[in-house]
């Protein structure tokens, strides 16, 4: 029962070319809340900053400013040293996220031991077998090495690893984009089932609007580091308001619209004055984060 609160997240990277240094703002004032039992999809094209958000939540990168706080059921913020018991991540490429040198058991045993979920060889193996069972894999896979598994199986192992510390918040960074088409839905359905069983809070990061709509409760659309639209999944997809979301939705292949490729390219909608605004479907209005922040400062 952990809630993850992300507030005003900013990440800047320093680019060095020769002696010149330029700062690139990859993420600008991003904020959302992950609630137990619900999935938020973070959607955007590559370079929109969505993976950077994931890496900051997984504490692989330090935010330039802003806060990421895991809050326990009692409303108290979880201490930093316990943060990783609660928040775990599933990586995009299952062929890269498992160490080719180690057995599947190693990948599950380490988080179990590190987070005090199991002691002693017997108990660790038992727990690891249970984890494999939960992701629909036979316990016999334990002594295999990653390269002996298919992509879908590897991603299931990666999900089991994320569950091993008893995490309540899972960040899934494009968990199926590297998988074969026919194993994608299986993995997504698995994630959905685990979410129901454990009441997990899930952040599903993807560029695929269709799975974002069907897999999540609400959608946050990012473009160039900013949130441009947010709201309940169906509202955002079926009634997109921001020009960027509209373009993105139009770009998804759709057999029903066969032949539209031949029609004249509408091009991206003329970039409007709304580029820096966020449409909030819950509030039903456009929001200017920068202005709000300014207002907050002056009010204080």
């Amino acid at each position: 029962m952990t809630t993850l609160e992300v507030r005003d997240l900013v990440k800047e990277f320093t680019l060095r070319s020769g002696l010149r240094r330029t700062r690139l703002r990859a993420v600008h004032r991003v904020g959302f809340t992950l609630v137990p039992g619900r999935t938020v999809a973070l959607v955007g094209a590559s370079g929109s900053g969505k993976s950077t958000v994931a890496r900051m939540i997984a504490r692989l990168e330090k935010p330039t400013s802003g806060t990421i706080a895991a809050v326990g059921p009692d409303g108290a913020r979880i201490e930093d040293r316990h943060y990783r018991d609660h928040v775990q991540m599933v990586f995009q490429d299952p062929f890269a996220s498992l160490n080719p040198f180690h057995s599947i058991e190693h990948h599950l045993a380490r988080p179990l031991v590190l987070h005090g979920r199991a002691k002693g060889r017997e108990q660790v193996r038992d727990r690891a077998a249970q984890l494999l069972e939960r992701v629909n894999l036979p316990a016999g896979l334990m002594d295999r090495r990653p390269h002996e598994l298919s992509g879908g199986q590897r991603q299931r192992v990666a999900i089991a690893r994320a569950l091993a510390p008893g995490a309540q918040v899972i960040v899934a960074d494009e968990p199926v984009s590297m998988l074969d088409v026919s194993s994608r839905l299986g993995v997504l359905n698995l994630l959905a089932r685990l979410q129901r069983e454990d009441d997990l809070a899930v952040l599903y990061i993807t560029h695929d609007l269709a799975t974002a709509r069907h897999f999540s409760d609400s959608i946050v659309v990012m473009n160039r580091g900013r949130i441009v639209e947010r709201g309940p999944a169906d509202d955002v997809i079926l009634d997109p308001r921001h020009p960027y979301t509209k373009t993105l939705a139009a770009a998804a292949p759709d057999p029903e619209l066969r032949g539209r490729l031949r029609s004249a390219d509408p091009g991206p909608e003329a970039s409007s004055d709304r580029d820096h605004l966020t449409y909030d479907h819950d509030a039903g209005r456009w929001v200017d984060i920068d202005a709000d922040a300014q207002a907050a400062v002056t009010a204080a």
Binding site: Q88, A96, L98, F101, E148
Partner: protein, 334 residues
Amino acid sequence: MTSVIPPSSGLEDLPPGTEPGALPPPAAGRRTGWRAVLPAWTPKLAVGLGLVVVIALFGLLGPVFAGDPATIRNIGLTGPSGDHWLGTTQTGQDVLDQLTHATRGSLQIGLLVGVMATALSALFGVIGGYAGGIVDEAFSLFSNVMLVIPGLPLVIVISGFVPADQRGSWTIALVLALTGWAAAARVLRAQTLSLRNRDYVAAARVAGEKPWRVICVEILPNLLPVLASQFVFSVIAAILSEAGLSFLGLGASNSSTLGTMLYFAQNGFALQREAWWWFVPPGLIIAAFGCGLALINLSLDEIINPRLRRPGRGRAARALSGSSRKDAVRSTAV
């Protein structure tokens, strides 16, 4: 350029929806884990290992059976015979007896230097590469400085400063290790830089592993082939440099190595007196040992870079089909 990759041993070919319980047979083609660290059995490796093992046994067991190499007889500079298989030196010492002890001495130094240089390069290369930032800058600056200092002259200077009576084989090994680790450190740093960005390293960090454990458990095993190759390389380099130093009279004073043998042979005008049995055997052993280690190194390279591995049958098959890889690559690239 993408190349045709044969489907991996039927694993991806399972019909969709195969029961999770149906385990695919373990793949035989690709190897990971400890097996991946061992090179594939090739003629190259067999010859290399053979040479190294024979010479190592010679150095290890030879001195047990050999007589005292220092025994002076009054039959100076005689050729090979039944009594003295490899003849005698100027002072009538048995060359074979000397050779066994010298081989042992050289191997000892080679091994010592190999271990120390590899440890140093791992320390500076892997830790620097993983830590990044200021630590990396400092470590790589240091190893770059060590790299551009010309090795042999420095060794000569250092050896020259240490008084001859304190110049044991440990001193020499230390000096050689200190001058010989930098190149390996750069290679390891480059490898570590690429490994540390792998997702499995990130995953280990997310799981909460401590940095030293990430380095030792997640990164180092994947560096083993590179480490082994660097180790073998520094052993070759150490044996050669030690031979060079000893030949110049700057070697360890209390030990006998292949280099000191050559040094005495040179001093005894073995070449001018055509006493080939005195200088050819130590030279041959150095060459054969270096060759053996180099062959092992080539096999290790094939692990690091699997593209060097070409199945033997491939050439014949391609010759038959009349289209070679070069052909294909050129025409697709052009």
